[in-house]
Amino acid sequence: MIYIGAEVIVSPLGDNAEDNWQALVENRSGIALVPSAGFNQEDIHLAKIAGLNGPLRFQQLVIKVLSALEARIDASILTSDRTIVLISSTKGALDDNLHDQFSETCIAVMQQFGLAHLPMVISNACISGVLTLNVAGKMIEADQYEHVIVIGCDVASDFVLYGFQSLFAVSDKPCAPFDAARKGITLGEGCGAALVSAAKSAFKNAPLQLLTGTSANDANHISGPSRTGEGLVRSILKTLRYNDVLGDEIDFISAHGTGTIFNDEMESIAFSSLNLSHIPLNSLKGYYGHTLGAAGVIETAVCMQMMRNSMLIKSAGYRDAGTSQPLNIILENEPKKLRTILKTASGFGGGNASLMIRDL
């Protein structure tokens, strides 16, 4: 069995999973209007962490989240030769060193925590987080490591904001995933982490079970989602089959839901063709914005909190159905026992990835 637990979230909603959970229960969003943040000094909605400024923001966040995780696990595994740290990120410390966006952070983390191996960076656009959790689980299945610490992190930058502005993909209001009036994404920053392990004893609090999944490419376009959801459908089908789980066993779907017209439409088509349209679903982007390489890890951590607290969290920003295929979008927080959940992600480069978490 592969365990996952000790989840940590550092975001505009708080420095640990519990503070983040409290904010979600109250349906508070981390998104705020930031004056003159845009390329032409436009005011832009962003989910930024207060007080995170200056150089080395990426490194600060990674160290902060790993310190918080250390307190939730048997700390002796950090320095074990049977432990590796995987970092999921798109742009890393781009603002510190354009030509070497990751290695300074990896070395600093290794030294500070006395790790036996240099952390490995996985950079697969917006599916990075879900993909990295799957890699972690599969490294343990193959007995390559006993413990894998997954950290997902991306910080806000002019670079990424201006880029999405150039694509006319940034919403002028807080993003509204799956809503009829959605106009694009809201960018966010944050860092999430979890321990994936073969040993239940590595966790101070009871872990959950990770059912690892598969990635699939759309083979369609590098920056636009497939119209048919082909890659997402293939990824979910394989993830279900690999774990011998039927669609009807899924109690909740944490969708990618970026708030762009085409992404959300693609997801509705994919879920519909898999007969998953009736399953309660949300997007967490209305709370965190799109945190890119961190999104899959932060959102999986939130799913784990939802399971631990037996509660569905409403999809922030959603009011009216806005996709061609129906979805069962969560309108209000609702107590519900969650045994098996599905987490999906899709992104630039045509990537799609999915995983499942099961309550023990």
Binding site: F39, K91, Y162, T214, D218
Partner: protein
């Protein structure tokens, strides 16, 4: 057994397939080195011109491997070839150009921005071949055979039947591209640490 069945090395002045030089850079040409190879291969894929250098390099090396081993495509279903790539500098070269577009060029360029992620090359190869399989891009300090060996063990234990591995380091100052195909075969070049390291250095000038 897992064997390396084909490989391609792109260097600053030479392009080799399975250790044989197939193209040499014409220093007198006005065309870029990658365009020279594209022309020589007569590929007829105009999207090539839109790609950034990482995607151009990955696309060309893939096409060269296919040319040397035409069976590769037909031998597998459309989701059975996994793509596992890595490099040291992510998409830094394109990141720099995108940054220039808004710092000195007037406005951020969307056609550059979409290439400011290292995994885009995987998407380009998937699109060009209509491959729906597993994809992964890692950023590592240097070429590390163990990374490919470990992850291939994971992939080939599930739905993937073959692996296209890649190391793609293309910066203003250097071109170090190594793509290799790993398949189940009875005999050939075994897919192991030593062979991978050795083949990755094909075409390197010994003087340095």
């Amino acid at each position: 057994m897992k064997m390396i069945t084909a490989y391609c090395n792109l260097r600053a002045d030479e392009c080799l397939v399975n250790g044989e030089v197939v193209a040499r850079r014409d220093a007198g040409s006005e065309d870029s080195w990658f365009k020279q190879i594209y022309r020589q291969l007569d590929l007829g894929y105009p999207k090539f011109y839109k790609m950034d250098v990482l995607s151009q390099a990955g696309y060309l090396a893939m096409e060269l491997i296919k040319k040397a081993n035409p069976d590769i495509t037909a031998a597998y279903a459309d989701d059975e070839i996994a793509l596992v790539f890595a490099n040291a500098s992510s998409s830094a070269e394109t990141d720099r150009r995108f940054m220039q577009s808004y710092e000195t060029g007037g406005s951020p360029s969307p056609s550059l921005f979409v290439y400011t992620l290292p995994n885009i090359v995987l998407g380009e190869i998937a699109i060009a071949n209509k491959w729906y399989g597993e994809n992964m891009f890692a950023v590592l300090p240097k070429f590390a055979p163990g990374f490919y060996l470990n992850y291939s063990e994971i992939l080939l234990a599930s739905d993937s039947c073959a692996l296209l591995g890649g190391w793609l380091e293309v910066t203003a100052g250097s071109t170090d591209v190594f793509l290799f195909m790993v398949e189940e075969r009875e005999n050939g070049t075994e897919f192991n640490n030593g062979n991978l390291l050795h083949l990755s250095q094909t075409g390197l000038v010994a003087a340095y």
